[in-house]
Subunit: 214 residues, 2 copies
Amino acid sequence: MRLAELSARSGVPTATIKFYLREGLLPSGERISATQADYGGEHLHRLRLVRALIQVGRMPVATAREVLAAVDDTELDQHSRLGIAAWSLPGPAQGPNPGEEDDAATQTARQEIDGLLEHLGWEEFGPGTPAYETLLHAVATLIRLGYPCEAPHLRRLAQIAAQVAEADLDLLEGLPSEVEQVEASVALTVLYEPVLLSLRRLAQAEESARRFGG
Amino acid sequence: MRLAELSARSGVPTATIKFYLREGLLPSGERISATQADYGGEHLHRLRLVRALIQVGRMPVATAREVLAAVDDTELDQHSRLGIAAWSLPGPAQGPNPGEEDDAATQTARQEIDGLLEHLGWEEFGPGTPAYETLLHAVATLIRLGYPCEAPHLRRLAQIAAQVAEADLDLLEGLPSEVEQVEASVALTVLYEPVLLSLRRLAQAEESARRFGG
């Protein structure tokens, strides 16, 4: 197919596709004249992955390029591919304010989180990963504002989060190919975030009615 | 205490406190001279609530004024106060793009969500609430992009969300006063969102290691 058809079938504007080609995120098509190239199904798939990483996952272009290199590396197993994509995904919230990166609240939060992860035996994503750093600064904010955030409550939430992760991976394993799984792992992680948060708010209203309702 | 001390003890800048006073979000202090007023512990508490609504919950000033009126209404029970605060809280994600407010994907999503809420017997927050509308547009986005989002999966996530809500309300019930509970209900709903999302990402990495790891 030509560039115009690739754009129509993927829903990605031709200018954006040209940008991805220039940045090496999408392999060149097969050249059929001085000004035209032919694209195949593999371009359509890769385009969906690039869009998942950059538009849905807000991943910087340079990071997306590294993730794509890992996806294409036939020496890696599927766990490593999924891990590299997930590791590189920017955190779900903003980082700390200036001056709060390593204050007393952050140090207390770090101890609490390291204890939590050790208790759970979770050792895949440590300090430096966006997920760990987001957790660190969210817990530090709770401590700084004086809201409850004790270890037993965090453990309870972590065990609930493990159930979400099981549901997430079940959904992923239902997909037919490994490339689709990597693409979907990034897209589904991000796209299901507002689903989870709004279901929590609906459930809170029900639980509040049950406890405080007339 | 004077304005300067109220600012120091609350951590809210004096200019912001003056803005809250002008907007009627904070009651006036007791006037002790032509230019000075005296503030008490109730001002400190109310300031924390106003900050929870506006800064943490990103609630518009006019909406915050309505929530505060509900908190002060002695005719209302605690469930109604919590409900008005939670109902008014802006959704955890952006709304739909122009042209997507009522497209085919949104209509399918609406049917799916209404079926889900009926199945669960959840009837506190319906269409028009920020939580419902956020869920609607998140599910519509999944459908539009062709990602899996079937009813059994949503039901499974809703049941997990109900466990989070139980943990949330347990935390809230541990607080000593009703005003503190209303304040904390808004603040904790928002502040625990990045905690949940990052715990989910950490749990996904563990679950992926268990299923795909070597």
